[in-house]
């Protein structure tokens, strides 16, 4: 098949773009996670602000990614930085929402018991609430990651890094030799990255799982 021939011929390039894609997504999700979890923690005592932030970040998600990526050009020019910023914006909502859901889902009796033991609010958060909410938070990060893997492909319109470049190169030369192979290998690469990162998150979830929650 021509596709396989193309992919083996351009293996170096594809591997490079795949690595770039993974890096791009992980950096963006990292930023999203810091912002999302941070906002959830900072709005502990202001539920209305928290609600507002959830609405806001949820609404940001409805903005077509092409428009957001394009708007980055006048602000930040072309390249890696605008791509990361736009992706990080999209990643906030799922992480913020799951962090809020996770924290609110912790049994109030357990928190109350921790209070009874004389734990300070910060200590309660660190040793009781966050560990118990962690599976839900992690799932939010995973959701954001899978979403960004696909969205990152569009980053190529602002000359962002990653496998989107393959797709757009194919698009530019539509009808030309290897155009379809380029586009397809880009798509396959993106799916592959999503799969790898999904497995990564399953592994993280397994490793970080609290033993007490899973023993029978």
């Amino acid at each position: 098949m021509k596709l396989i021939a193309y992919m083996t011929d351009n293996a170096d390039l594809l591997v490079f773009l795949t690595e770039q894609h993974i890096e791009l997504v992980l950096v963006s999700v990292g930023i999203s996670a810091v912002i999302g979890i941070g906002l959830a923690l900072l709005t502990q005592s202001t539920p209305r602000l928290r609600h507002g932030l959830l609405s806001l970040t949820g609404t940001l998600l409805t903005i077509p990614s092409f428009a957001l990526f394009a708007l980055m050009i006048p602000l930040m020019g072309l390249g890696v930085a605008p791509t990361i910023v736009a992706l990080a914006v999209y990643g906030i909502f799922p992480i913020l929402r799951n962090t809020v859901t996770g924290i609110e889902g912790v049994d109030p009796a357990v928190v109350e018991a921790a209070r009874g033991l004389g734990m300070s609010p910060g200590r309660r958060m660190r040793t009781v609430v966050l560990p118990l909410a962690w599976p839900v938070i992690l799932n939010g990060i995973r959701t954001a990651t899978i979403m960004l893997v696909a969205t990152a492909a569009i980053g190529a319109v602002v000359h962002g890094p990653g496998l989107g470049q393959e797709i757009f190169r194919g698009l530019e030369r539509i009808g030309g030799a290897n155009a379809i192979e380029e586009a397809l290998s880009g798509v396959i690469g993106v799916i592959f990255v999503a799969l790898v990162l999904d497995l990564l998150f399953i592994a993280i979830a397994k490793i970080t799982a609290l033993r007490g929650l899973n023993v029978r």
Binding site: S55, I63, A67, A70, I154, V187
Partner: protein
């Protein structure tokens, strides 16, 4: 845009309750664009790209793409979802659901580009790509919506002598409506987003304004295109939210 984040059952407090905020934001956005365009001294290229006729045509194409693809998505996704929850097809349903979930990882631009390469470009090819991409949330939510109906209600319905079709029409479908509507809303938002990419396959839409801004290196064109796209997306989301509220059966 991807489906993953919006489609799950909303956490408490995420349902947008203030209905006037979004239209206000849209109005401010449009006002800002208008003021911005009128403050510019445009060169001939910009003037041509931002002529009212050009922009409105793009907007109209965009709306057509979204409406056509969303209607088709519903027309295919809902009956298919219902079919896949019938007792005989339950197994197939599980397989389809798993496959549909996995297909989330496929990038929308990839679907569009590869389809264009294989089947050609243009409005209807773009619609096909949009439908393929937006089918998942509608199909999935229809199935999930029907499956989450309390089995006791179905038992009560069967027990009082409803035929399977009557159970479907008076119990399962009405009770699945909220979840189905949420799926349709996600599909709608996805379609607005992916339709911007249809510009790359000669199907027009607001994406063509943005991409001409990029390729001509004219920031005003790009900014106007992006802002209008955002305004359209927010408006559609707002309308979808209103529709969701109106169409939701009372008592649930």
């Amino acid at each position: 845009m991807s489906t993953a984040a919006v489609e799950e059952v909303p956490a408490p407090g995420t349902r947008r309750s203030t209905t006037w905020v979004l239209p206000l934001v849209v109005l401010i956005l449009l006002g800002a664009v208008w003021a911005y365009v009128h403050s510019l001294r445009m060169d001939s290229i910009e003037a041509r790209s931002l002529a009212a006729e050009v922009v409105l045509t793009a907007l109209w194409q965009h709306v057509q793409l979204v409406v056509a693809s969303t209607l088709l998505t519903i027309a295919i996704g809902v009956p298919l979802g219902v079919l896949l929850t019938r007792p005989r097809t339950r197994r197939a349903g599980a397989v389809v659901l798993a496959a549909a979930n996995a297909s989330q990882a496929v990038p929308s631009i990839g679907v569009l580009v590869v389809l264009a390469m294989v089947f050609g470009v243009g409005f209807w090819m773009a619609v096909v790509a949009l439908v393929l991409y937006a089918l998942l949330p509608v199909l999935r939510n229809t199935m999930v919506g029907i499956r989450q109906v309390d089995p006791a209600l179905i038992d009560a319905g069967r027990g009082m002598g409803m035929s399977p079709t009557e159970v479907l029409c008076t119990i399962e479908l009405p009770l699945a409506v909220p979840v189905m509507l949420a799926g349709i809303r996600v599909a709608l938002i996805l379609n607005v987003g992916v339709a911007t990419l249809a510009a790359f396959t000669n199907a027009g839409g607001l994406g063509s304004v943005i991409s001409s801004g990029i390729s001509l290196d004219r920031m005003p064109v790009l900014i106007v295109g992006s802002a209008l796209t955002m305004a359209l997306a927010l408006t559609v989301d707002w309308l979808a939210g209103l529709a969701e509220r109106v169409l939701r059966p009372r008592g649930i």
